[in-house]
Amino acid sequence: MSPHGNPEAPASGAAEINREAPKASPAPEQSAPAEHHDRSAWGLWEVFVRSSRGLSHVHAGSLHAPDAAMALRNARDLYTRRNEGVSIWVVPADAIAASDPDSKGSFFESPQGKDYRHATYYTKSEGVKHL
């Protein structure tokens, strides 16, 4: 799972940490009259949780919140209910620049076949120690 994935489609690995994550469906732009409750008023946030033995924060899912302080608290309530974490990051979803899923070929397939970029491609020279 990569934090650089499309924020609108959280990687499936997150499901293991969190079985109750709401589907990360961004609120549709509504043109409802102002006096109606405007659900899109609460922004979408991406949540990253670091587990007690983990070194890095891992994308857990997303949520809606009016601001960063509430996003942190909502993340605590939604994504750490079962003792999953000791640290949380929240990031506005629109602050994440994501790679385009349609450009997979040009973006991610180029390294294929370039064995020489891996150490195993090379044979160890005779007499080299500690390699």
Binding site: P22, R53, L63, A65, R73, L78, N83
Partner: protein
């Protein structure tokens, strides 16, 4: 898990399900090793923990507070303004239910059924009548709108934090252990609540109006929280509990800070007569109990 401390009677009981933090790993999530109601039930059953009659009556009071509040907050599930808040209120309700289970289980250790067995948490929750409940009237007040619930929760969380913080020093080891677990949870309830008081008060004209109305609705029931009586006097002298009146100063100061930041005033409203600790309740509790108890009474002994 730290070295078991058998003198307190809590460390030597297996945490059962997952064995606590000793089994934790990078990939496996455990429930942790905090004190659970089941641990207290086991201690009560084996005689490791037995409350005095005074302590049992006291545990019943604060257990009833938490139980009634859990039932009230649980009503928000699927009804909160947003999914995220739905779960936040549900979490708080479950925390309260956990405290209620612990306190009532412990209280039951000094109370017996007709057949001579100790009363269980379920006996106490489901098979007592309205006048036998010892919760103060604030906890049974209706949810109202979201702001009214936040107002009730504002008073509750700041009161419970001061109470549990001091109860961690109780000479009664079980009360102290329950409070030590509860105070961390209630600390978060406080934080969550203060966030909402600030936002509702500083939001729109409508949200501010509702926040003020909510506080005025709940404030008459504040005084009852801090009333001393003979039981709390005796327990305070014994060091097992604290006099409710002694919490008032810190409560006023800390709630006052939040209200000041939210540019709200402490509501100037007359106090309600109260009487919840003697079993005198407002008109709302009967309906709440009817809903809470109906299933257990209709099908005694049923499990699901």
């Amino acid at each position: 898990m730290s070295t078991p401390d058998t003198t307190t009677g809590h460390g030597d009981i297996s945490t059962g399900v997952a064995g606590g933090d000793s089994n934790a790993s990078a990939t496996r999530i455990t429930p942790g090793n905090a004190l659970r109601p089941e641990d207290i039930a086991l201690e009560v059953k084996t005689g490791l923990a037995k409350p005095t009659e005074d302590v049992a009556e006291y545990a019943l009071r604060i257990g009833d507070d938490a139980l009634i509040l859990a039932q009230r907050l649980g009503h928000w599930i699927s009804r909160a303004p947003e999914l995220e808040e739905d779960i936040a209120l549900g979490n708080i309700a479950l925390d309260q239910l956990g405290h209620a289970r612990s306190f009532l289980t412990y209280a039951g250790g000094a109370m017996t059924n007709d057949d001579g067995s100790a009363k269980s948490e379920d006996d106490l929750a489901y098979f007592r009548r309205e006048h036998e409940f010892r919760s103060v009237q604030l906890f049974e007040q209706p949810n109202g709108d979201f702001a009214a619930t936040i107002a009730r929760q504002f008073v509750v969380s700041y009161y419970q934090f001061e109470l549990y913080r001091r109860l961690t020093e109780s000479t009664d080891a079980t009360l102290a252990a329950i409070a030590a677990k509860a105070v961390k949870e209630v600390d978060y309830h406080r934080d969550h609540n203060a966030q909402w008081v600030l936002r509702l008060a500083g939001g729109t004209d409508e949200s501010r109006k509702r926040m003020i109305h909510g506080l005025r609705t709940m404030w008459p029931y504040v005084a009852e929280l801090f009333r001393d009586d003979e039981l709390t006097q005796r327990l305070a002298e014994a060091g097992a509990a604290v006099a409710p009146s002694s919490l008032r100063e810190d409560f006023d100061r800390l709630t006052g800070e939040v209200l000041a930041e939210a540019e709200l005033e402490v509501p100037d409203v007359p106090a309600a007569p109260g009487g919840g600790r003697e079993g005198r309740h407002s008109e709302h509790l009967g309906y709440l109990l009817a809903e809470m108890q109906v299933l257990a009474r209709e099908h005694p002994g049923a499990s699901w």
